[in-house]
C-alpha cells in the first residue's frame, strides 16, 4: 500500500515540476522556431518575474495586483530585450545570437543585483509567504504541497490555451507560418515584427507564471536563480525536438519525470514492502542509492542532453527538416 502512495505522490511531483519545465520550454521553442535564436536570457525572465512578485508582495499589494504587476513587468522586459538586443542582430550567425542572449542575461542579473542593492534589500531575498499558495493537501496518507497541485493544473490550462491560440487564431497561424519560413511569411504580407514580438510576449508571460511558482517552491531568490531552470528548459525543448511547441511540452514532462525518478528511486529502499526483495538487497539500496544518485542528478540530465543531441538531434517529435549538425 505504501508503495502505491509513494508512486502516486512522486507522479504528482513529476507532473508539477514537468509543468514548470514545459511552461519555460515553450517560450524557448517559440522564439527558436522563428528566429533560430536560443534565448538563454529566458531563464532570467523567470528570475525577474520572481523579483517583481516579491517586491509587489513586500509592498503589501493584494495578490491579484501582484500577479498583474508581475505579468506586465516581465512581458515588458521580454519585449524590451527583443527590441533592443535581438532585433538589431537579426540574421547574425547562430553563435553570435546565442552569445548576445548570454549578455542580455548578464544585464538582467546584474541589473537585479543593483536594484536590490539600491532598495536596500538583502541578497538572497526571502520570498514572502503567500497564504493561498502555501500549505499541503492531504489525501489519505499522501501529502502534496498546494503549489505543486497549482503548478500542475495551471500548467495544463495555460498550455492548452497556448495550443488553441497557435492553431485557432490568425496571429497564431502567422506565427506558425513565420516558424516555417520567415522570409516567405514576410512576402505573404505577414507583419513579422509583430509576430516575433507576440512570441516574446507570450513566452515572457508563461515564464512569469513559472517564475512565481518556482519562487514559492524555492522560498528564496537570487539574481542567478534563472540559470539552472533555463538549462533544464532547454534540455526539455531539445528532448522534444527543438522548435516544436508540442515537443517542448512533451519534453518538459519527460524531463520532470526523469528528474523525479532520479530523486525518488533512493527512497525506494525504505518504502518497498517486506518480502518483495531480499533484506540484503534492501539494505544495499538504502545504503547506496541516496547519495549516489540524487546529488549527481544534474550531471546525469546533461549526459542525456548530449546523447539526444548526438543521436536524435531532431528530438522525439522534431520537425522533419533535417537539422544540419555537421
Amino acid at each position: 500500500m505504501n508503495l502505491v502512495f509513494y508512486i502516486l505522490q512522486q507522479l504528482v511531483n513529476a507532473l508539477s515540476i514537468g509543468s514548470l519545465y514545459a511552461l519555460m520550454a515553450v517560450g524557448l521553442a517559440m522564439v527558436f522556431s522563428i528566429l533560430r535564436l536560443i534565448n538563454f536570457a529566458h531563464g532570467d525572465l523567470i528570475m525577474v518575474a520572481a523579483y517583481f512578485a516579491a517586491f509587489a508582495l513586500l509592498a503589501k499589494l493584494p495578490l491579484v495586483v501582484v500577479i498583474v504587476v508581475m505579468l506586465a513587468g516581465t512581458i515588458l522586459v521580454g519585449l524590451l530585450m527583443e527590441r533592443m538586443a535581438y532585433r538589431p542582430i537579426r540574421g547574425a550567425p547562430d553563435v553570435a545570437a546565442l552569445l548576445t542572449s548570454f549578455a542580455v542575461g548578464q544585464i538582467l542579473q546584474n541589473g537585479t543585483l543593483l536594484v536590490t542593492r539600491l532598495m536596500q534589500k538583502p541578497n538572497p531575498l526571502a520570498f514572502p509567504v503567500i497564504s493561498a499558495l502555501s500549505g499541503v493537501f492531504t489525501f489519505g496518507s499522501i501529502t502534496i504541497p498546494r503549489v505543486n497541485v497549482l503548478s500542475l493544473t495551471l500548467g495544463i490550462i495555460l498550455l492548452v490555451l497556448l495550443s488553441l491560440f497557435v492553431t485557432r487564431t490568425d496571429l497564431g497561424l502567422s506565427m506558425r507560418a513565420a516558424a516555417e519560413d520567415l522570409p516567405a511569411a514576410r512576402l505573404m504580407g505577414i507583419d513579422t515584427n509583430r509576430v516575433i514580438a507576440t512570441a516574446f510576449a507570450i513566452g515572457s508571460g508563461l515564464a512569469a507564471v513559472a517564475g512565481l511558482l518556482f519562487a514559492v517552491q524555492a522560498g528564496q531568490l537570487t539574481p542567478y536563480m534563472g540559470f539552472t531552470p533555463v538549462l533544464k528548459a532547454f534540455i526539455a525543448a531539445v528532448i522534444g525536438g527543438f522548435g516544436s511547441i508540442s515537443g517542448a511540452i512533451l519534453g518538459g514532462y519527460a524531463l520532470g519525470g526523469l528528474e523525479v525518478f532520479l530523486t525518488a528511486i533512493p527512497g525506494i529502499g525504505d518504502i518497498l514492502p517486506p518480502g518483495l526483495v531480499s533484506p540484503s538487497v534492501q539494505a544495499w539500496l538504502r545504503q547506496w542509492l541516496p547519495s549516489s544518485l540524487s546529488s549527481y542528478r544534474d550531471a546525469f540530465v546533461f549526459v542525456v542532453l548530449i546523447l539526444v543531441l548526438l543521436f536524435r538531434p531532431n528530438g522525439i517529435l522534431g520537425s522533419r527538416e533535417r537539422e544540419e549538425m555537421g
Binding site: 549578455a103 542580455v104 548578464q106 542579473q109 543593483l114 546533461f302 542532453l305 548530449i306 543531441l309 549538425m325
Partner: protein
C-alpha cells in the same frame, strides 16, 4: 657578410625578441618596486591572456564554439593543487585521498627553483588534454549552437563532479593552503609559450585547415581538407593551456571552491575573445588588456559605492554593442605585425602593416 635571407629571418625575429625583452624589463621593474597591486594585476592579465588565447585557438580558429573551457580550467586547478600540496597539509585537509595519491607531493625544488610546481602543472594539463580528447571525439561532431550548449553541459557536469568528489576536492568547502608558487615570471613564461604556440599553429597547415573548414566546411572537405583532425587538435591543445592557466590561478589565489569556475568567468573570457577578434592572436592580447583594465576601473567604482552589478552591466552592454556594430571584434582575423618596424626601407613587401590570415 649576411645574406638577404638571413636579413629577413633577423627582421622577423627582431620584433618578438624586442617585445620579449621589453616585457622582461617591465616585469623586472615590477618585481623590484614591489608594487603588490600592480603585480597582482599583471599576473591576472597573464592568466587571462592564456585563457583567451586558448579559447581563440579552439573557438576562434575552428568556429566550433565551446562554452566548456572553464571546466578544463577547474580540472587543471584542482589537479595541480592536489599534486603540489605538501604531505602535512594533505593529511590535514584531504585525509580521504586514495592511498596512491596521498603519497604524491610535488613540492620539491631544484635549488631555489620549484621544479615540482612545473611537473605538477604539466601532468595536470596532460591529463586534462586526455579528457579533452575524449570529450572532443564525441562533441566535435556537432557545430553551431548545438556544440555550444553541449559543452555548456560539460561545464555543468564538471561542476557537479567537483562538488561531489569530496575526498579529492573537499566538495563545496574551500580548497585552501595551496602553496603560492605563481609569480610574474611563471605566468608570463607560460603566456609567451602560449602566444608562440597559438601563433605557430595559426600559420601552419593545420591552422589553415582550421580556418578553411570554419569558413566553408563542405568546400574545404571537397578539396580534401580534414575537418575532425584540426578541430580535435585545436580543442586538445587549447584544453592543455587552459588547464595550465587553471594551475597558475590555483597557485596564485591559493584557496578556491568549485563556484569560481562557472558561467561568469566563462562569459568574461568570451567577452575578451570577442572584443579582440576571433581568429587574431594580437586581437586576443588587445581584448584581454582592454577588458582586464576596464574591469579593474569598474571594480574601483563598485567597491567604494557598494553598487555591485555596474561592472557586469557595462561589460555586457559593451559586448552587445560589439556584436551589433563590429561583429568581428577590433581586429577580426588580422594581426598586428611587428617586423616592418625592423626592416630596412619599411617592410619587405610580403607582409604588410596588417597581415591578413587568409
Amino acid at each position: 657578410m649576411r645574406t638577404e635571407v638571413q636579413d629577413r629571418v633577423w627582421a622577423r625575429a627582431a620584433g618578438p625578441l624586442v617585445a620579449i625583452v621589453a616585457l622582461v624589463i617591465l616585469l623586472a621593474l615590477l618585481q623590484v618596486t614591489g608594487l603588490a597591486f600592480w603585480q597582482g594585476l599583471v599576473i591576472n592579465l597573464g592568466i587571462f591572456l592564456i585563457l583567451v588565447l586558448s579559447l581563440n585557438l579552439s573557438n576562434g580558429f575552428t568556429g566550433v564554439f565551446s562554452l566548456g573551457h572553464i571546466g578544463f580550467m577547474a580540472l587543471g586547478a584542482y589537479g595541480s593543487a592536489i599534486l603540489t600540496l605538501p604531505l602535512r597539509e594533505k593529511q590535514e585537509y584531504l585525509p580521504n585521498l586514495p592511498a596512491w595519491l596521498a603519497g604524491i607531493h610535488f613540492d620539491f625544488r631544484f635549488g631555489p627553483f620549484p621544479l615540482g610546481f612545473l611537473v605538477a602543472t604539466v601532468i595536470a594539463a596532460l591529463l586534462v588534454s586526455l579528457v579533452a580528447l575524449l570529450v572532443g571525439l564525441v562533441l566535435m561532431r556537432l557545430s553551431g549552437h548545438f556544440v555550444a550548449v553541449a559543452t555548456l553541459g560539460f561545464l555543468v557536469i564538471v561542476r557537479v563532479l567537483l562538488f561531489n568528489a569530496d575526498n579529492l576536492t573537499r566538495g563545496s568547502r574551500t580548497f585552501s593552503n595551496v602553496t603560492p608558487y605563481t609569480n610574474l615570471w611563471w605566468v608570463w613564461a607560460w603566456a609567451i609559450l602560449t602566444v608562440y604556440t597559438v601563433w605557430r599553429i595559426k600559420h601552419s597547415p593545420f591552422g589553415r585547415a582550421m580556418f578553411a573548414q570554419r569558413e566553408d566546411r563542405w568546400a574545404a572537405q571537397s578539396i580534401g581538407i580534414e575537418v575532425m583532425a584540426p578541430r580535435l587538435l585545436a580543442f586538445v591543445v587549447s584544453a592543455f593551456f587552459t588547464a595550465v592557466a587553471g594551475s597558475l590561478y590555483a597557485h596564485f589565489i591559493t584557496s578556491f571552491s568549485p563556484t569560481v569556475f562557472y558561467f561568469d568567468l566563462t562569459f568574461k573570457v568570451i567577452t575578451m575573445l570577442v572584443v579582440g577578434g576571433m581568429g587574431s592572436v594580437s586581437g586576443s592580447v588587445v581584448g584581454t588588456a582592454l577588458i582586464v583594465g576596464l574591469a579593474e576601473v569598474l571594480r574601483r567604482i563598485e567597491d567604494p559605492t557598494q553598487l555591485y552589478g555596474i561592472s557586469g552591466i557595462v561589460l555586457a552592454v559593451l559586448f552587445i554593442l560589439i556584436i551589433i556594430y563590429k561583429r568581428d571584434g577590433l581586429l577580426g582575423q588580422r594581426e598586428i605585425a611587428l617586423d616592418p618596424l625592423f626592416t630596412k626601407g619599411g617592410g619587405t613587401g610580403g607582409e604588410g602593416q596588417m597581415t591578413n590570415a587568409e
